[in-house]
Symmetry: C2
Subunit: 237 residues, 2 copies
């Protein structure tokens, strides 16, 4: 109904992901798409540019748009998707276990990361993720209490993102990820099946709302042998 260009975008994204449109297939020309969807050319182009930016198609001047095979068969840890969305895509049996859920006073470092005062309480959520029978991810979330009044065991074991967007109507807008490798802490050793691996992959996530306020800081700690990050990037200019 609303958002014509997103409709076109989702239409093709779905058809490409499902394999209905095969790799190297030529999409209809922009002119043909305007007639197919009853939209103007600029609207069609907006959809096509989104598809190109996300790695679905490649646009070639004078020739047309072609389906890329880059993104399929990969689960994108890139971008902004919650663990639940991710697990659903790869189709593997996965489970989230809540380790602890409490409100704490942030230490210096954390207060600095969240841009809040040291007396402002925050939620601390510690969860482990089990995939394929092995507990390999430790997630530590810190959320601003003033923005998230209520948080329960059930919500944490389902999806915090979903709760935020559905119930609280807080829209997540963008995030900054930082990936580093560190030595595992005793906590890592305790909660994860480290199997003697001497290092751990740390994905720090700074999550922002639409008004650009930072409201969540997440540390996702992965056992190195099971870690895999996929990124698609275009060279602009």
């Amino acid at each position: 109904m609303d958002n014509k260009y997103l409709t076109i975008y989702r239409d093709f994204a779905e058809r490409i992901e499902s394999g209905q449109l095969r790799v190297r297939t030529k999409l209809p020309s922009e002119h043909e798409l305007t007639q197919l969807y009853g939209a103007s050319r600029e609207t069609v182009r907006k959809a096509l540019n989104l598809l190109a930016e996300n790695g679905y198609i490649q646009k070639v001047k004078g020739r047309g748009s072609f389906v890329l095979g880059v993104n399929r068969f990969e689960f994108p840890v890139s971008g902004l998707v919650s663990f639940k969305e991710l697990a659903a895509r790869i189709g593997k049996e996965s489970r989230t276990r809540l380790v602890s859920l409490e409100t704490v006073a942030p230490n210096r470092e954390l207060a600095d990361l969240l841009h809040i005062r040291a007396n402002q309480p925050v939620w601390e959520v510690v969860r482990t993720r089990t995939i394929g029978g092995e507990t390999i991810i430790l997630d530590k979330d810190y959320l601003r209490r003033d923005l998230v009044p209520k948080l329960t065991k059930a919500i944490c074991e389902d999806s915090i993102y979903e709760y935020l967007e559905r119930t609280l109507d807080q829209s997540i807008s963008f995030a900054k990820k930082v990936i580093t490798v560190e030595e595992p802490t005793p906590e890592d050793q305790d909660l994860l099946e480290m199997k003697g691996y001497p290092m751990i992959v740390v994905v720090q996530n700074h999550v922002y709302l639409e008004d650009a306020t930072l409201f969540q800081y997440t540390e996702s700690r992965h056992r190195p042998d099971k870690f895999r990050f996929v990124d698609f990037a275009r060279r602009h200019q």
Copy 2:
């Protein structure tokens, strides 16, 4: 001169990166920008959307565009930038050393990765990167020989990307990155100052040209303590 919207984009990107435009500053409205640059509103919007997509600004409906402070003070390993471009940005003393440069017949795995036949020769370039006095990155590049006829020591120690774009006029269009963590090989131990670290971060890079042909496969092997990957992602929809 050409590309009005890129001019506007670069103008603001530069001003934000240099700190001339401070965080939380409100940009002129789209209407004001049309008059400032003598451009139409759609052209201005194209520039602003690019800025938003790359993490420079946040657009808020009904209010305006505001400078974000997310991307500054970070060197983006994300996106598509060559090591030379990267080293220039962080300003640290860095050096590239060529270990070997030869044409080889690809093994099964490599031929598969590059989508070529096993009898088609490829360039194998092995280089080490030294930053701040420590040799911490091992780069192994494989390029299709039919697309890159000549390759010399001087080119490899400068920047292969620059050579491709300037001399051969081959435009790099997009890339797929995969980050994993592995055990170091004897070659890693031999060429890098591993300092006893038992793991190595492997960044696999599949680089494509504008006609979507895969022409380069790169494996960048980083000592774990010096590895850092930064990513900015927007949640669309």
